[in-house]
C-alpha cells in the first residue's frame, strides 16, 4: 500500500459517528475516502461550512462553495454556512471533536511544529494554531521522515504551532501516542517491525509488551465499521 493510503486508512479508523471533524490541507484530505459507507461524520471547513462533501460534477459547482484551499466542493443536505467568527468559535470553544493536521516536526513532549521554516518557507499558520489549541482531539498525520531525516524528534527545532500535547501521530510506519511519560508506540504498519520504527525515529519511543499491527487490511478498500470495535 502507498504510504499516503496507509496513513489515510489508519486515521479514518479514529473517526466516530456524529463527530465534527476538521481536516487540514494535504495528507488529511484523503481521509474521507476511507470512511465506512455507513458512518456519518460532519466535516467542517474553517472558511465557513459544516457538512463539507466531495466536489460535485463540474456542471454543479458553486463558485461560493469552496474548501480552505479555495477548491470547489460539495455540501451534504442540511449543511450550515457560518462566518469566520463562528467557525473559529467552534474550533476554540470545544465544539470540534477532531482535527487532523499535517506536520513538519513532532517531539517527545508531543508538541507540533507545522507552520513555518524560518528563512525558507513562511506559509503562515492560517487556522492551525487555533485548531491545535482548541480541538478536543488532535491527530497529526504525516510521513515518518523527510529527506531521510526523522520528523519525530527529541525536541522540535522549528517554531511550535501550540504548546498543547497532540493526541495521536499516524505515519506510514506507526501509530504513536504522546503521553505525559513520552511517546508510546501503539501500532506498526503491516509488514513493518518495531525495530524498523525505532531505527527510523529520532525521539525515544516507549515500547509496550504488545504492539499490534494497524487494522487497515491489505488492500485500498475502506475498513468495514465492525472491524473498529
Amino acid at each position: 500500500m502507498d504510504a499516503k493510503v496507509v496513513i489515510a486508512k489508519r486515521v479514518a479508523l479514529e473517526m466516530k459517528d456524529g463527530q465534527l471533524v476538521n481536516l487540514g490541507i494535504g495528507l488529511p484530505t484523503a481521509v474521507p475516502n476511507y470512511l465506512p459507507a455507513n458512518m456519518e461524520v460532519y466535516f467542517q471547513s474553517e472558511n465557513g461550512i459544516i457538512g463539507l462533501a466531495a466536489a460535485p460534477d463540474a456542471a454543479m459547482t458553486d463558485p461560493s462553495l469552496t474548501d480552505a484551499g479555495g477548491g470547489y466542493v460539495g455540501a451534504i443536505p442540511g449543511a450550515a454556512s457560518i462566518d469566520s467568527t463562528v467557525s473559529f468559535g467552534l474550533i476554540r470553544g470545544g465544539h470540534l471533536d477532531v482535527t487532523v493536521l499535517g506536520g513538519l516536526e513532532v517531539d517527545e513532549a508531543g508538541q507540533l511544529a507545522n507552520w513555518v521554516v524560518p528563512g525558507k518557507m513562511v506559509p503562515g499558520m492560517g487556522g492551525a494554531m487555533d485548531l491545535v489549541t482548541g480541538a478536543k482531539r488532535v491527530i497529526v498525520s504525516m510521513v515518518h521522515s523527510a529527506k531521510g531525516k526523522s520528523k519525530i524528534l527529541k525536541k522540535c527545532t522549528l517554531p511550535l504551532t501550540s504548546v498543547r500535547r497532540v493526541d495521536l501521530i499516524v505515519t506510514e510506519l506507526a501509530v504513536i501516542e504522546p503521553t505525559p511519560e513520552g511517546l508510546v508506540l501503539r501500532e506498526v504498519a503491516p509488514g513493518v517491525t518495531v525495530e524498523e520504527v525505532i531505527a527510523a525515529t529520532e525521539a525515544k519511543l516507549i515500547i509496550p509488551k504488545d504492539v499490534p499491527v494497524m487494522a487497515i487490511g491489505t488492500d485500498e478498500a475502506p475498513v468495514a465499521k465492525a472491524a473498529q470495535a
Binding site: 471547513s45 474553517e46 472558511n47 465557513g48 461550512i49 458553486d62 463558485p63 461560493s64 462553495l65 469552496t66 480552505a68 484551499g69 479555495g70 455540501a75 454556512s81 457560518i82 462566518d83 469566520s84 467568527t85 467557525s87 473559529f88 468559535g89 474550533i91 476554540r92 518557507m121 513562511v122 506559509p123 503562515g124 499558520m125 492560517g126 487556522g127 492551525a128 494554531m129 487555533d130 489549541t133 482548541g134 517554531p159 511550535l160 504551532t161 501550540s162 504548546v163
Partner: protein, 218 residues
C-alpha cells in the same frame, strides 16, 4: 431613502494612497473583485491590507500584490501566493502573521467596541512575543488587541438598496465581521434587489453598517 449606490470608479477615488483596508475573502472566494481591479487601475500604492490571505498570483488580493499596491499585510497565511513571500523576503512588504481565529476576533473587537480579546491560541509560541498574558480563573490567555481600518471592502451575495446584506456559503467568511470594523464600508454585491426582498431574518449585515453599494455598472 439615502441613495448609497456608487460607481466603482467613484468608490475607489475615495480611497487614498496609504489607506488601511480590510478586504473580505478566503483564497479569492468572497472577495470584491471589481473594487480590486479598480484599485489596480487607479494605481493605488502603499496600502495596508487586513485580510485572511493573499490568494494566488492574479487572483483576488493577489492582484494588489502583483501591482505593488501593498506595503503592509496583516494576514493569516501567504503560502498560496509565492509572490507575497518573495516581496516579504525582499523587504518590500511587511507581513504580520496572525492566527486565523485571532484575526477574526481582533476584527470583531474593533467593530464591537471591545478593548481586545483573550485567547489561548498562540500561548507559548512566537505569536505571544511582546504580548500580555492574562490569567482568568486559573487559565492563561493572550491579550490580542482590536483591529480597525479606514475602509472595509466587502463582497455580498445580495444587497437591497438600503444596504441590507445577505451572503452565500463560504463567500461569507470575513465579510460579515469586517462590515462592522471600518470608518467607511463599501459593499460589492452580486445582485442588488428592491428593499423588502431580503426578509429581516435573512439580513446578516444590517444596512446601518453599509455606507456605499457598488452599482451594477460604472
Amino acid at each position: 431613502m439615502i441613495d448609497k449606490a456608487i460607481s466603482c470608479l467613484n468608490a475607489v477615488e475615495m480611497i487614498p494612497d496609504g489607506a488601511v483596508l480590510m478586504i473580505g475573502g478566503f483564497m479569492g472566494v468572497g472577495t470584491p473583485n471589481r473594487i480590486i481591479d479598480e484599485l489596480v487601475r487607479q494605481g493605488r500604492k502603499n496600502l495596508t491590507v487586513i485580510s485572511n490571505d493573499t490568494a494566488r498570483p492574479g487572483v483576488g488580493i493577489g492582484k494588489l500584490i502583483d501591482a505593488n499596491a501593498i506595503s503592509k499585510l496583516i494576514v493569516t497565511h501567504i503560502g498560496t501566493n509565492p509572490i507575497t513571500g518573495k516581496k516579504m523576503i525582499a523587504g518590500e512588504i511587511e507581513v504580520d502573521l496572525c492566527p486565523q481565529g485571532t484575526l477574526a476576533e481582533r476584527i470583531r473587537a474593533g467593530g464591537y467596541g471591545l478593548g481586545g480579546v483573550l485567547t489561548p491560541t498562540g500561548l507559548g509560541t512566537t505569536v505571544a512575543d511582546g504580548k500580555r498574558v492574562i490569567e482568568v480563573d486559573g487559565k492563561q490567555f493572550l491579550l490580542e488587541t482590536p483591529l480597525r481600518a479606514d475602509f472595509s471592502l466587502i463582497a455580498a451575495h445580495r444587497s437591497d438598496y438600503r444596504g441590507n446584506l445577505e451572503y452565500s456559503l463560504t463567500a461569507r467568511n470575513f465579510n460579515q465581521v469586517m462590515a462592522m470594523a471600518s470608518k467607511v464600508v463599501i459593499v460589492e454585491p452580486e445582485h442588488i434587489v428592491p428593499v423588502g426582498v431580503i426578509p429581516p431574518d435573512m439580513v446578516a449585515t444590517p444596512f446601518v453598517c453599509v455606507n456605499h453599494i457598488i452599482a451594477r455598472c460604472n
